[in-house]
């Protein structure tokens, strides 16, 4: 397989395993990389620190008094950083025999290497960095004190005069920011403010260092959009004066994500499946296909969003989704199976940060076991509240499953009696089959006269007569003949459901013991008395003796060969055990054989491992093939090589703190 190796920054990088002298970064939550500089916030010290990535061994950028590390005082309690982003040419080395397809172009031979120019493949920072503090109506603008020489890196590590250039007052607390750089070194800042009546998105032009005055910035502030009853959770600057705006309302249960044209002030909805609370995009992605080097994704073609976990209850919420914003209308990205991607979920964790890197080394499962090195055209890294670092394929978005075995039924029992899931001829389910990708691991219960989820412990009152109002969404789970178990102030009673209406269950006349009713629960009965509930999937359906059961919910993961038409779980229900009792039944244990490429930092690492349990923002540095991750639990930045990560632990990190 021919390989593509991104150069440029990589040429300057050397491997090193020594950490800089400690400076102290209490409250290190967020990172922003600008060229060779990595900025980190120190929330508790109201300052930024800057790690020089070009230096080996790495050091924090020094202050004008070089005995000290540089501290950049900013607004109180800085919580969020953004840098100005624009996209420029990248440079890559390819093997002989590879043909570059435009816009890629061969540039030169250097020391026998074949170099290719890759338009849009490199993220270039502008001269400014913007800093916000949750709840504060101001933004710190940080940059070099003087205008850089033409052609010089505006944020060169040698420039120790990095400082807060201005503090921009805003009309209300700032909730999100994004920034775009330009070749003229004047930047555009986008920011959102929040007042309970409405969120507002603004832009401001920020002149280059040396010309920047607060007045000039204030005079350029422009209204872009207003969102009544919502707050803006994330902004993302895309090429071509486009902006992505994510909003939230109703405590995160709803919201919208819009592609916004900052020139025409026109918005297009993006088809994320729920409210989004963090956004990311990518530089141009190039891949070698056969003997050709082709651009498979122009810069900014896709928007990746972390979904808000509050949108619904249960583990089926949250996760990551990608939307193609170049096609019209924008669509959810298809994965390697040709189907719209399944949201990439992170179990019980809350996703904390997201970064994307091109042409990144990674460890993939090898045939026959173990791992083998590979290059992914676009790699994603998500940090999670469990301490896990998830690496996923962002080009064909899905988890990298390191367990090659397909999902299987690993246990099947009736009470304490184990049964054969395939050949069970006793009673109950048989010929059980589960689709690969149906669920990570799941315990499925098939319960006789089980309680119907969503129709449990619902309030009721005598004044409702024979009607028992219930949530509309759950009523279709009930059927005539089901049992209504009514709790009363003095005990309980049972009555049969006569009919199911759109907003209530209806019974025949209630027996005298049902007076003073307080709450009710519906139990399955009649022709389908078995309730099928999964620990991950929730309510899956009902089944009765002699019936075939099939559950066609959403797949958790799309493995190779995925066919959306195949139900997730199927079985045939044979005869019924005449002795079966209410609330007893069958348990089907599914082993999903799903092990995403994820790892935590080894807590046994000397000196710091035990404090590296809670990560913050990550940055993937494609040129250096490194990841930098803020760890507020350790008040540190950690450097690691994604190309060496194998589950379950990362054993090699370099801390800076």
């Amino acid at each position: 397989m021919k390989r593509l190796v991104l150069l440029g920054l990589a040429l300057a990088a050397c491997s090193q395993r020594q950490s800089a002298l400690p400076v102290g970064i209490p409250g290190a939550f967020d990172l922003a990389q600008a060229g060779d500089l990595l900025f980190v916030n120190s929330t508790d010290r109201n300052e930024l620190r800057v790690l020089n990535l070009a230096q080996s061994p790495r050091e924090f950028v020094r202050a004008p008094n070089p005995l000290q590390a540089l501290s950049i005082p900013v607004l109180d309690r800085p919580t969020g950083l953004v840098r100005e982003v624009r996209y420029g040419d990248g440079l890559a080395e390819v093997e002989e025999g590879v043909q570059a397809v435009p816009p890629a172009a061969f540039q030169e031979q250097l020391e026998g290497k074949k170099l290719v120019r890759l338009p849009g493949a490199s993220e270039l920072g502008g001269p400014h960095l913007y800093v916000m503090s949750a709840g504060s109506p101001e933004i710190s603008i940080v940059g070099p004190g003087a205008r850089p020489e033409p052609g010089a890196d505006p944020l060169s590590p040698e420039r120790s005069e990095l400082k807060e250039l201005a503090r921009l007052p805003t009309s209300a607390p700032v909730t999100a920011m994004a920034a775009r750089g330009s070749e003229t070194q004047a930047g555009t800042l986008y920011y959102a403010t929040y007042e309970p009546q409405a969120a507002t998105v603004w832009s401001a032009e920020v002149p280059p260092p040396g010309e920047l005055t607060l007045d000039a910035v204030l005079q350029s502030v422009r209204f872009l959009a207003r969102f009544p009853g919502e707050s803006v959770t994330a902004l993302l600057a895309l090429p071509g004066q486009r902006l992505v705006i994510a909003t939230r309302r109703d405590q995160g249960r709803s919201g919208q994500t819009l592609l916004f044209d900052a020139r025409a002030l026109a918005a297009t909805p993006l088809p994320f499946s729920g409210p989004v609370r963090q956004l990311a995009t990518h530089p141009a992605v190039y891949e070698i296909q056969g003997d050709q080097l082709v651009r498979t994704l122009p810069e900014g073609q896709r928007v990746y969003g972390l979904l808000d976990e509050q949108a619904c209850a249960g583990s089926a919420c949250g996760g990551l989704l990608a939307v193609d914003v170049i096609v019209n209308p924008p669509t959810v990205v298809t994965d390697g199976t040709g189907q719209p991607m399944a949201p990439i979920r992170f179990g019980a964790a809350v996703a904390l940060g997201l970064s994307l890197g091109t042409a990144m080394n990674v460890q993939l499962p090898a045939e026959g076991g173990g791992f083998t090195g590979a290059v992914l055209p676009l790699l994603g890294l998500v940090t999670a509240s469990t301490g896990e670092l998830f690496l996923f394929d962002a080009r064909f978005p899905r988890h990298i499953d390191t367990d090659p075995a397909p999902a299987e039924v690993s246990g099947f029992a009736y009470g304490e009696t184990s049964l054969d899931p395939e050949e069970n001829d006793l009673h109950g389910p048989r010929r059980i089959s589960v689709a690969d990708g149906a669920a990570p691991d799941e315990s499925v219960s098939v319960i006789y006269q089980g309680r119907l989820p969503g129709l449990v412990d619902l309030p009721t009152q005598d004044a409702d007569g024979v009607r028992f109002p219930a949530p509309e969404a759950f009523l279709p789970r009930a059927a005539a003949g089901d049992i209504l178990l009514v709790s009363t102030s003095g005990g309980s009673c049972e009555v049969q459901v006569a009919s199911v209406e759109t907003q209530a269950l209806v019974t025949s006349a209630l027996p005298p013991g049902c007076g003073g009713r307080v709450s009710f629960t519906v139990r399955a009965s009649a022709a389908r008395p078995y309730v099928v509930v999964g620990s991950e999937s929730g309510f899956m359906g009902r089944v009765g003796a002699g019936e075939a059961f099939s559950f066609s919910g959403a797949y958790f993961h799309h493995p190779d060969g995925f066919d959306p038409k195949v139900p997730l779980l199927r079985f045939a229900f044979g005869k019924e055990d005449p002795a079966i009792q209410r609330d007893s039944g069958y348990r089907i244990q599914i082993d999903g054989h799903f092990a995403p490429l994820a790892a935590v930092v080894d807590p046994g690492l000397t000196g710091i491992g035990s404090s590296l349990y809670f990560p913050g923002s990550p940055v993937l540095d494609s040129g250096r093939q490194l990841a930098f991750i803020a760890y507020p639990s350790a008040n540190a930045i950690v450097e690691l090589e994604p190309g060496q990560v194998q589950p379950p632990v990362v054993r090699k990190v370099v801390p800076y703190r």
């Binding site: 949750a134 607390p173 449990v456």
Partner: protein
């Protein structure tokens, strides 16, 4: 050497002259911790503040009641009005309690009476119960439970280690009681900050309990049945709902629980295992939304406000899941929910290390105000004054109470610190301190 040491001990213990007790100052707070606000007819209400006497300068801690309409400046102005620094608290009423007071809970009784519960970590591991009866002749009416004339509430307090001598195991007991919460129907829960070793003094085992008692009994009592063994890690604060009490855990690694639930019907324990999905090192203050479907609590290391959703809060085993988290300034302590009908909750958090009280808006999903109040804010009490609210925050490191006004709960970013109540405690102990001089 030994005879001399014995002689000195004898002098210290029994032969010294009787001295007058060194009482905490009346009309001032000293290392204040727990706080409660109660309405009073026609006025700004009454503020109850526990002084913890943290450096033991005095022989006691205190609970001080302040008539907010009778302050030396004439009383608190309406919401949003400037309060300034009010040193003269007017006609106050002070009762003495054990040192190292923790949180404070208030439970309303019939006939306008309210019981205040204040655990103290000093000797005796006491839960002090104080009855507040509004105002009497413009002064707050306050008395130790069962001793209307006494000013020392230690004698009437309940010891949470009284059973220590009743059995060889010394159990159950709750050394260093700290957190306290009460349900709407009167069940009180108390946490403690030191595990109970068994036998006492052995440093072996290490039992952790929540003490539960009725807040509305004429003379609440603690018996063996009052102690619910929690296991795991020490509990910090407690929020009590209709079915469950939710207790946060301190220093949960490697085997503790971030939040534990006690089923009030059975006193059975239930852990939603939040720590497996969200790995902060420990949790502190906690509060519930009024519908009990949302739980807010302060995580530490890193410092974050965690928002959890509760499904089936009245069921035996509710599903509790962290759905959101935002970074907080250094050292979050207490958490108070301010409900807004038809809107997401506001949540106030005292951040001890940063000297701030912050406001989280659950509609926005972010902090919307950071309010500098002074060194080491701790307790929070809320006085609803529609359409806004007034927050009282005890400032442990300063000895005062900050007054924060939110004129309109729909505009929480306009909240501001409008003043301070009490005299800085540096001025209580050193009147010559230049910062304490009153300008001519």
């Amino acid at each position: 050497m030994r005879p001399l040491a014995l002689l000195l001990a004898a002098v210290a213990l029994g032969c010294g002259p009787q001295t007058a007790p060194n009482l905490p100052p009346a009309g001032a707070f000293y290392f204040p911790t727990g706080v409660a606000h109660l309405d009073a007819p026609g006025g700004s209400g009454i503020l109850y503040v526990a002084s913890s006497n943290f450096d033991r300068r005095f022989d006691f801690g205190a609970v001080t009641a302040v008539n907010l309409s009778g302050l030396g400046n004439g009383g608190l102005p309406g919401l949003g009005g400037e309060v300034g620094a009010v040193e003269d608290l007017g006609a106050t009423k002070t009762l003495h309690i054990q040192s190292f007071a923790g949180e404070m809970a208030a439970y309303p009784l019939p006939e306008g009476r309210t019981r205040l519960f204040v655990p103290s970590r000093g000797e005796g591991n006491l839960l002090q119960i104080i009855e507040a009866s509004g105002l009497s002749g413009g002064s707050p009416a306050l008395s130790c439970l069962g001793q209307p004339e006494a000013t020392d509430c230690l004698a009437s307090a309940i010891s949470l280690s009284a059973l220590e001598k009743k059995s060889p195991s010394g159990l159950p007991r709750a050394p260093e009681p700290f957190g306290v919460g009460v349900s709407g129907d009167g069940e009180l829960f108390v946490t403690h900050l030191r595990s109970a070793d068994s036998p006492p003094g052995s440093l072996k085992e290490g039992h952790i309990y929540a003490a539960s008692l009725r807040a509305d009994e004429e003379r609440p009592v603690v018996s063996e049945e009052s102690f619910i063994e929690l296991g795991g890690s020490l509990a910090s604060s407690v929020a009590v709902g209709r079915r469950h009490a939710y207790l946060t855990g301190r220093f949960i690694q490697p085997a503790g629980q971030l939040v534990r639930l006690v089923d009030r019907r059975s006193h059975g324990l239930f852990s939603p295992a939040l720590e497996t999905g969200f790995r902060v090192a420990e949790a502190r203050g906690i509060d519930l939304s009024s519908d009990e479907r949302r739980l807010y609590f302060a995580g530490r290391a890193p410092d974050m406000l965690l928002v959890a959703e509760i499904s089936g809060p009245q069921s035996e085993a509710p599903e509790v899941r962290v759905v959101h988290a935002v970074p907080l300034p250094d050292g979050p302590e207490q958490v108070r929910v301010i409900s807004r009908p038809g809107r997401g909750n506001l949540v106030a958090v005292s951040c001890s290390g940063a000297g701030l009280v912050v406001l989280y808006d659950d509609d926005a999903g972010t902090l919307v105000a950071q309010l500098p109040v002074g060194p080491r804010p701790f307790g929070l009490a809320v006085d609803r004054q529609e359409p806004g609210a007034r927050i009282f925050a005890t400032i442990f490191g300063d000895g005062r109470v900050a007054v924060i006004d939110i004129p309109d709960l729909l505009l929480p970013h306009r909240a501001r610190v409008v003043g301070f109540l009490g005299r800085a405690q540096t001025c209580l102990v050193d009147k010559d301190d230049p910062s304490c001089q009153v300008a001519p």
